[in-house]
């Protein structure tokens, strides 16, 4: 399958890239790893007159802790996240998720920036960023601005990014002590999107009760779904079998998946409940609770 014809641009700097996007408006699209965009162009589900490849712009590929944040450059490949000692030891929610994204060959090309900026509710990292309370840094003609992940997703493939803005960095607050995170995903096979998946990040207080929590679901609606009520319910409570079961039930009630070959609505909601419970349990264990 051949994509419809387009012009390809390879700017050397972010400013140049923003200028190109500004001059072509919604006829242009940012090309990062291309693992979602190129298949869509090939299937002719989308077409753009201009692709602006940010893959050669220096300084967009890094994973570092700085000023209380984990900062990840938008062009950081999934494979780099997978191999990162920092991610593997300190950000287990991401370490859980990355090996479950697509397959190893796709992860050699696909980027974190592309995964979160694409606005596909089937992508895994948006829900994780909601759970982590991440902020997305975007560069546009007027300079840089930050958008909390919670305000980023507007609809199916629709985000807070203007057509001439480029997501440049993902900023994740470093978790305080007694924190734990986990991602639980059910998929039919390697390379498939989630039937259902749950991202959990929580912090326990000195007595083992939940001090704060966030729960978000993948492929549970037109955008990643934050289950704020379920998370709020947990705060102040001991995360035992009973409270985890109730929070999972509340989270699943927030999901509104559609039926497809991955299953019926009922099945997907039930799986959202089961996976939320699993992620909660793992996150609690990782936070040092029981």
């Amino acid at each position: 399958m051949i994509p419809a014809a387009f012009d390809y641009h390879r700017p050397g700097t972010l400013d140049e890239a923003v200028k190109l996007l500004s001059s072509h408006g919604d006829k242009a699209k940012v090309l990062s790893g291309g693992m979602s965009l190129l298949p869509m162009l090939k299937l002719r589900l989308a077409s753009f007159a201009h692709l602006v490849d940010i893959g050669r712009i220096p300084g967009l590929d890094y994973i570092k802790e700085e000023g209380g944040f984990l900062k990840i450059g938008a062009m950081t490949r999934q494979a780099a996240l997978e191999r990162s000692e920092l991610v593997r030891t300190r950000y287990l929610i991401l370490a859980d998720a990355v090996p479950l994204i697509a397959d190893p060959l796709v992860r050699n090309r696909g980027t974190l920036g592309g995964n979160v900026a694409n606005g596909d509710p089937g992508n895994d990292q948006p829900a994780i960023m909601l759970a982590l309370g991440a902020t997305f840094v975007a560069r546009g003609p007027k300079g840089e601005r930050s958008v909390p992940a919670g305000q980023f997703y507007k609809g199916l493939y629709s985000t807070a990014l203007a057509p001439n803005e480029i997501l440049t960095e993902v900023r994740i607050p470093a978790p305080p002590p007694r924190s734990g995170g986990a991602y639980a995903k059910l998929k039919r096979k390697t390379g498939d999107f989630a039937v259902a998946a749950a991202a959990v990040q929580l912090t326990l207080d000195g007595k083992g009760a939940v001090e704060r929590a966030a729960i978000a679901l993948t492929n549970a609606g037109l955008t990643p779904v934050e289950a704020a009520d379920a998370a709020k319910y947990l705060v102040g409570k001991k995360p035992d079998e009973k409270t985890i079961a109730e929070a999972s039930r509340m989270a699943a009630a927030k999901s509104s998946p559609s039926a497809d070959r991955r299953g019926s609505v009922e099945y997907k909601k039930e799986m959202a409940r089961v996976l939320t419970a699993r992620a909660l349990l793992k996150a609690v264990q990782r936070a040092g609770g029981k």
Binding site: F6, Y8, G34, M35, L105, V106, N108
Partner: protein, 156 residues
């Protein structure tokens, strides 16, 4: 639509081409360079038959634009054999019956040779994970795993 002049190194040889933006890397390799060892399978970045090594990493060449590879080093299945001697993974696939119809084999060889560059002594689990983006409809993967283990031993 303007064409782009690109330079790549394929199996150690410098090559140039003038390409349309939308030309896929796999078509550059097969149709422009006339190297047909790299196969087009599903054409939807699932099956991995089109796998080539791009600057050290195995990637699905049906989902990379030729123009994105400008300036890169590419290794295809034709580049595995050196001075008339098969690469250990090629020898392994022969010795251990790692193929039946052979359609997925070029991709399997590229992915597994890249694995062995990074990990000299992969476990069975690591081999299976490494080839999880390469589909084989014939072998059930058992002999592919054996072939890679054979190659790993050979390379140590």
């Amino acid at each position: 639509m303007a064409k782009h002049k690109i330079s790549v190194t394929v199996n150690g040889a410098a090559r140039e081409a003038e390409v349309e933006s939308r030309l896929l890397l796999v078509h550059l390799i097969r149709e422009v360079f006339r190297m047909t060892g790299t196969h087009v399978g599903c054409d939807t970045s699932h099956c991995g038959a089109c796998t080539v090594i791009l600057d050290g990493n195995p990637v699905k060449s049906c989902t990379v634009l030729a123009v994105q590879a400008d300036g890169s080093k590419i290794t295809t299945v034709e580049g595995l054999e050196q001075a008339g001697k098969l690469h250990p993974v090629q020898e392994g696939f022969t010795e251990k019956h790692g193929l039946q119809c052979g359609f997925c084999t070029p991709g399997m060889l590229m992915t597994t040779s890249a694995l062995l560059e990074r990990n000299k002594n992969p476990s069975e689990q690591q081999i299976r994970e490494a080839i999880s983006g390469n589909l084989c409809r014939c072998t059930g993967y058992v002999n592919i795993v054996k072939a890679v283990q054979y190659a790993a031993e050979k390379m140590r």
